[in-house]
Symmetry: D2
Subunit: 145 residues, 4 copies
């Protein structure tokens, strides 16, 4: 996909500074390309729910972040995106050392970007398991809102 | 709705101790009744995304928590619930002093509980605004998993 | 809700003439008000799936129609709406004499209308059962597309 | 994926006889393999909505059918599946000669099968366009219900 803003990566990196909740959960982006973004998070006790699995809210946040920034990489420099609709299918328990989120724009548009995400867990042997799929509609907005 | 576990509130309160991610974001339950649960979170900078709004991941987590525990209040004492499918419709920006989540079971079953949630923001005048709707399918599982 | 097009009902009634699939399944609108629309369908064998229940596709179509026209009632005369995202929660089997769909706009906007729907079955005693809930995002477009 | 019922294809073919709504819209399965099913429908005026596009309800029905039977191919001979949750992302207008639906089980389980579908349109040159993505949770039930 062709970015409308050639400085898309720089623009996104600057936005990340004020992504306080992203920092609060310990997630960071590791790859930013037009329409595809990856990021990761090292699992700690603070990410768990009552069964010692990764909380569904962590997984939803990771999916939202990688899909949102995948959409962000495609808009004009004066535009941004907001999530209008997010869905997560929880396939398997989130257990392991690390979570990786991979977000793609599957159909870009002037108003809406349709996105999908894989959320995987990496265990201590480096093996990965798909734990969730994310689906989102990202709406293009003026960036300064 | 009639709870199958008369000690449902005590059971849930005990589960909350190990809800590390819930504590990490500063959310707590304020009302637990059969099939309906409320909770709240005071908004701080750590909950924000790049536009200074509440991050969509916070809202998804709040919705997941209140719907999950609404379903939990209806299962047998040896059972628990896990989220199989979560969807959030983001209606308005999350701005204000406090977020309240209200989760209801709209159809209970032996295997699945269908749930809905309102997520509202409370401003400094105590006025509330509906910022998101949550929809989830909660799957009944053995509690010890 | 206040309609932007005072002739919203007339505009929608005219659109219905070319709603070939709606006619093909035997559905019709019975109530059109700003942001809220109702319609019904008498159940026949042709609506069934292999268990003799109403097919999920019929229910999805009914939900889409009443939410779509609820959104349509709120747009300018030169605009229309298309469904960007549709979700159905199937709560109970669809059995009975008639299906009624009730679609509401829960948040209207310039670009997107967030909608919800109840789909109910009416049995031979006139009693109604909620069989599904529908949730949709309707996107505002130029009407002539 | 390994089918639990070696006669899965025969079982599904028999079920299709009573799929009255599937026949009513003119859809039929063209490929049945364990966890993956394809089917097609030739587009006629009866499938259209007011903009002369394929109605969203047709697309939802096609997605539901191919995901439902993909799940059906994996259950025991005394079991069936029902849709608990269906979501459709409408990516592009449905225009062309034919619609093909391709449904896959992305995670199979004893109680739930998570599925995804591509719905594509084929034009008169045989070129295909992805018009929608479907996502569903299929719940395993006793077959005789």
């Amino acid at each position: 996909m062709t970015p409308k803003n050639p400085d898309y990566e720089k623009t996104i990196r600057k936005k990340l500074e004020k992504q306080f909740f992203m920092h609060h959960i310990g997630f960071d982006l590791t790859k930013i390309t037009p329409g595809y973004v990856e990021g990761e998070l090292f699992l700690e006790e603070k990410h768990q729910q009552q069964f010692s699995y990764t909380h569904g809210g962590v997984i939803a946040t990771v999916a939202d972040l990688v899909m949102g920034f995948a959409a962000y990489s495609l808009v004009e420099s004066h535009q941004g995106t907001v999530t209008s609709d997010l869905k997560i299918a929880y396939l398997r328990p989130g257990i392991g050392d690390k979570i990786i989120g991979r977000g793609s724009v599957i159909k870009s548009g002037n108003l809406l970007h349709f996105c999908e995400a894989d959320v995987v867990c990496i265990n201590s042997n480096g093996e990965e398991t798909l734990i969730a799929r994310g689906y989102a509609t990202m709406c293009v907005v003026k960036a300064h809102i």
